[in-house]
Symmetry: C2
């Protein structure tokens, strides 16, 4: 069974977290969410004790499955690392040295990385110039160092990037297809009952 | 500011909960989630004490803002009642006598009701025959008593119904338009960056 580690921080966009997690579980992908505390703590990481919630960008409180620990979250444990968007959440995730190291480790081990506003982590992790997309709000930070695209989902080797909540479904289905095959993609998509005219 | 009460129970579909909640907050609609315990308790409602989570259909634990109490959750407090889908969650919500009474009260007071698999609550609340849609899995339970449609979003007076996670965005945007106007719908939709070909 393929497995995914889905990061979250205070300010993570709830839909960009929930849509991939839920879609992956439907596809039989084992999902684990890992909370990354904001860097402005005094080192005691208060969120690791209480409250045990991640406060999303629009106020929905979600309980993480675990906390980010490098030795339990590397590419030897998961097939896919997901970095959701959300302005404040993406900032915390992309500025975390542990996340930056994981991004490089996953790609070195030929494991997938998926990001949207989370595409910022490609910059902070100093990935080589390649095609990517992101939420338009962080475009100017990325277009100098990457070959910026406005496609809804961009696949560059093992780096898969997307644009926002509006592309979260095609983004999740792309990863289901890459990890589980096209038949599984259709098996998962069909009972969600998208409008007939939907393009993905 | 318009306000929405969004119900949840163990087994609620996470995307059908998160997409309207998040979209409504973006539109300036004040959102409150209310947990409805499953009926098979001994009356002590263990979820009202601990654990303080709602366990979604795909394993995401979400903290409710409050618990369903009739005197705090009626149409004098909110403009819209949302009943998300998810097989087990929709069963709990539609079988709750308090929810059934609220459905009738909201419609009596000309307040909106929004449901998908939650359309089952239209049946258990004994609403008069009218046009509606639902997730295909509960179609046979509804088509004898209602004028069943396969449209993605069906508006029948103040009852707005939809089909599943795949119609959750157009469903949420429809309510934003009804409560806040078409300009607000576009203001909220645009930064979500849907694929260009999206029909809603």
């Amino acid at each position: 069974m393929p497995s995914a580690l889905i990061l979250m921080a205070d300010g993570t966009e709830e839909m960009e977290f929930t849509i991939p997690y839920d879609t992956f579980v439907r596809a039989g992908i084992s999902c684990t969410s890992a909370f990354v505390p904001a860097p402005d703590t005094d080192g005691s990481e208060p969120h690791a004790v209480s409250p045990p919630f991640c406060k999303g960008s629009r106020g929905i409180n979600i309980q993480p499955d675990t906390y980010l620990e490098k030795h339990k979250c590397g590419p030897d444990h998961f097939d896919l690392l997901v970095i959701p968007g959300g302005a404040k959440g993406a900032e915390t995730l992309s500025q975390s040295p542990v996340v930056q190291e994981l991004v490089r480790d996953y790609l070195d081990h030929e494991k997938f990385i998926e990001g949207s506003t989370g595409s910022l982590a490609a910059l902070t992790s100093k990935l080589p110039k390649q095609r990517l997309t992101s939420h338009p709000s962080v475009r100017t930070q990325l277009e100098k160092d990457f070959d910026y695209s406005e496609d809804s989902v961009v696949i560059s080797g093992k780096l898969v990037t997307s644009r926002g909540p509006g592309t979260a479904f095609p983004f999740a289905f792309t990863l289901v297809e890459l990890l589980c095959g096209i038949a599984k993609r259709e098996e998962v998509r069909s009972p969600m009952v998208f409008p007939l005219s939907t393009s993905f």
